[in-house]
Assembly symmetry: C2
């Protein structure tokens, strides 16, 4: 987890200008997830208060101001317990910010993918909306459901 | 996630008298985990403020008042994305409460395992400390490390 420094434009994602939000590591858990090879990651999606409220109410679309953050780590064998896997090194942190006016061209969402606190390149940011749109448009472009 | 009702002794674990703590679903994430077959679960360990403070400070043993909760769900294939797995139905919620006097006989920890908000039987609660002691005694009987 990295401290946000959104004053520096270098820390903002290409295309969208999304930065790492302040204090996201403390946000409430929406759900864990796992991604198989080749990425081989354990993940956790967390949200700000606006996001959590919308999830708990079960209402779509998410309101402006919603921020979703996906933390990801290498999926690593537990040294103490054979059948358990635990987080290894942090890999990417991914962000979706809802602003239906600013991001009208991408379903109301701005996207950012960060490695070691720095945004990845423009080519990677060109893939975000396309995938989310193709697969979960009817859920306001959000994959993750609330873990009961 | 179930509402805590620790006034009713039926809701407390055998041996330890541990109940589901209030509001644990909102607690800060310590780390996700995965458990292979036969349990086949995605998990998330969260902690109360005392726990989080101790983790961030990297200090052992955990102080009295520490509460750790492990949420667990069936590990389920994502319907929208082949390589992703997501939480299915909730399975167990497990709790560890630190009280070095009350639980002196079990390393200072009281244990509780809950299904649908109700504690499981005494036989299951006889296994908790034995396993945690055998494998992670030197980390104050706690497996889960902070996810970076
Ligand atoms: C090839 C498909 C694909 C691409 C490309 C993709 N995503 Fe996703 N994204 C997913 C899937 C599947 C999930 C849910 C499962 C998981 O957690 O991995 C997800 C989840 C997320 C989440 C958590 C909220 C949600 O929708 O569940 C964020 C935030 C996110 N992606 C951001 C990004 C960003 C930023 C980019 C581009 C830099 C991106 N995604 C590109 C497939 C994709
Ligand atoms: C056979 C071994 C074993 C037994 C028995 C066992 N545990 Fe654990 N426990 C683990 C392992 C391994 C982890 C960490 C990986 C994970 O999250 O599954 C863990 C994690 C936990 C955690 C999260 C904090 C930590 O130590 O990481 C709690 C809370 C917990 N167990 C409670 C219980 C309770 C309550 C019981 C008995 C009803 C119990 N455990 C029995 C192996 C065991």
């Amino acid at each position: 987890a990295f401290a946000a420094n959104t004053a520096n434009p270098e820390n903002l994602s290409p295309i969208y200008g999304v930065g790492l939000p302040d204090g996201y590591r403390k946000w409430e858990l929406i759900a864990p997830a796992q991604e198989a090879e080749p990425l081989n990651e354990l993940r956790a999606v967390v949200g700000n208060d606006i996001a959590i409220k919308a999830y708990r109410a079960g209402k779509l679309p998410f309101p402006d101001g919603t921020v979703l953050v996906k933390l990801a780590w290498k999926h690593t064998q537990s040294p103490e317990f054979e059948s358990a896997s635990i987080p290894g090194a942090a890999t990417t942190v991914q962000v979706m910010v809802k602003d239906s006016k600013k991001y009208a061209a991408s379903g109301g969402w701005g996207f950012g993918r960060f490695i070691n606190g720095k945004p990845v390149d423009q080519a990677q940011h060109e893939t975000c909306f396309a995938c989310h749109e193709a697969r979960v448009k009817e859920r306001d472009y959000v994959f993750t459901k609330w873990a009961p």
